[in-house]
Amino acid sequence: MKRLALARRETPTRGGAPAAFLIGLSFALALGAILLTISGDSVIEVYQRMFERSLGSKDVISATLNRATPMALAGLAVSIAATMGLWNIGAEGQILFGATAATFVGRLFPDLPGPVLIVAMLLGAAIGGALWALGPGLARAEIGVSEIITTLMLNEVALRLIQYLQNGPWKDPDGFSFAQITPRPEQAGLGDIWERAHLGVVIALVLIIGFAWFASRSVWGYELRIAGSSAKTAAYAGISMRSKILGVLLLSGAVAGFAGGIELSGTAVRLNENIANGYGFAGIIVAALALMRPSGVALVALAFGAVQVGGVSIQSIGVSSAVADILQALILFGAIGATVLSNYQVKMVERKVAV
């Protein structure tokens, strides 16, 4: 008995993913056009503005790059965990705690020269992020507790911690009655390198490319691929699953925490509860869209950033925020769906029966 079924391709078609991305995008834009027509907005005007305000000039491209940076790093963090089949849903919390740790370093050494302080704060951010993943990592490696639940729950804890700090110990004495945290040292800001884009854009790109390269060439990356293949294969090859699980979650947390440090020094002036701004969750989508390949997250995050910046911009010409949100979702969903589907093919298969 035969039936039609979706089967995973044994080998991905060359260029299939980018082509599918474009087709999915066009399809989403077409659907969006119908939506805009119904809502009474001018399709051409809206799309034109979306493009202009996200990728239309040096100025907006640089803003898009800034926006894409933390999402790319969060995407990298998620994809690192995914090489072992682990889900780090806690990048949001790790960004928050990373930024908190960087702020702590800034408060400890407020008089260090800029470059030294930046390095120290970014390092602190990475360590903070790793620390935030330590509990879930240990629980998963030692007793098999699902990291999905633990990392997710810690997001809320990190948020509450910042709220406590801004109402208590770290409250800005010059903020009058306003509950906000004292600004970070001024010299700890990442300078702009091109239009509005700050140095963090380059740092993130170097980190992503560096990681992808290191993972593909190093013994560590190789062991990770074996361990991600199956626990039994790892044992056979003499690789400790426990240390790999813990290591990969710590690294994933460190990268997300680092993103928090970049945000603090790049776009923010002080630690606040909105500093993660959903980037950690966006990172999950970015990683999924990049098919969990570290090498793909930069490009996907850029597209994601553009859609977000463009989505915000059209609200100022009268598109309702609901329609703008739907439009963003359509574009992302269309592109994700098409890209993932490009790994599959429709074929006739024998009806499967249990033996």
Binding site: A237, A354, V355
Partner: protein, 499 residues
Amino acid sequence: MSHPAVELDGIWKRFPGVIANAGASLTVRPGTVHAVLGENGAGKTTLMNCLAGVYRPDEGVVRVHGEEQKFSSPADAIAAGIGMVHQEFRLVPTFTVAENVVLGAAPRVISQSAIVRQVTDLAARFGFDAEPTRPVWQLSMGERQRVEILKALWRDARVLILDEPTAVLTPQEAVELGKVLRRMVEDGRSIIFISHKLDEVTSFCDEATVLRGGETVANSVPINDVDATELAKLMVGEVESAPVPDRVTTPGDVSMSVKGLKVTDTRGLRAVDGVSLEVRSGEIVGIAGVAGNGQRALTDAIAGLETIDAGTISVMGSDVTTAPPQARFAAGLAYVPEDRLGVGLAPKLPLAENAVMREYRKLRKGPFLSWSAASKFADDLVKRFGVKIGRVDLPLASLSGGNLQRILLGRELSGEPDVVVASQPTRGLDVAGVRAIQRLLLEQRDAGTAVLMVSEDLDELLALADRILVMVEGRIVGEFDARTASRAEIGESMMGAQA
């Protein structure tokens, strides 16, 4: 008397390259427990799947209570009163016992308390002590099996097929099962009991049908009229064993010695229960036995993949009992696991990464791996062992079983081991693949390697091995000289019959 509960007549079922049933027949009288016996691959499960509506036979007639049936789905078979308990249970772990029992066959309006009451009543009628409100994930394997049986009874199965029901049970649970089966038979139901354990068959069943090579070789033999030896003979047949290839060398010193090995499996049962064995240089020792008698745990424990409760393992005189797998490999112990793609190879990774899996530590250059050395290693492997591979950078998953096994065995042999432990090395391969792998193992023997080989194919062991050890329920119960032993006497020992 009335019609037979089940009549299967001249059932043929072909799969690509395999004939699973070649005119098999089965007649089950109502109110009896009927054993279906046969070795692995004899066609038992396929025949039962034809009866349970999972497969449609290519030819042949299925009659249930005298009426001819053409099932096109398991649902049709259930409607006709056929229930099947598969080897792998099909339960929802988070649902309660009662919910699982009624799942898919619940009344339109569901009242939790009514269902719990009805399931309790049903269980009590057949002498189960079920706790209907407990979630299934809390239950032991034996308890889960009872839920499966209750599921079939809830659907009022008149004929219940149990596919190797005792494989997951402790001996006590097996005795309990026997009692439950009696109750069901007294209730007028019929039971088909698939097994290859003779002692159970003789204690639980009324009649037996024996399958061999897809055909019925003994039809409805009353259990009281035959003894275990006869049944064993029927199962394995009286095939002439293949000629043993001429030996070039004689076995030398002991290369590997295992003493008093005990291993507990993931279910908490003792899988290996005090195994001692020695393998000499230039000798192939075969381990024969029906699947699931601890062979996998034995070889995994020797290779360092299972925790050992007691006993020692030494390779070339050095004790490796507590050594990690890579240290055992370095000590000269190569391992070809039964599960090629889940243990021995990483299917998503390319050839080079699989080829160096055992010895990548030697190719280390600082934090990096020398990929040029790795691909040279892979190229050598391809050439030396005749692997047919298209692009070396593609994942291994697309390769054929024979090529995968060449890569796996080749990699293990490239370290020039003193001892090779190979588990089911030829299972599932085509004829050319089987020959190639067997030839490699014989070459190893002639070169003075000690080979321990687990196989379910008795003919293969008789052809290749020097000595054959029979493993039953985690113990070595018999040792045979492969040149003089007969298939029948080894078969009998495999079935647990007292020799």
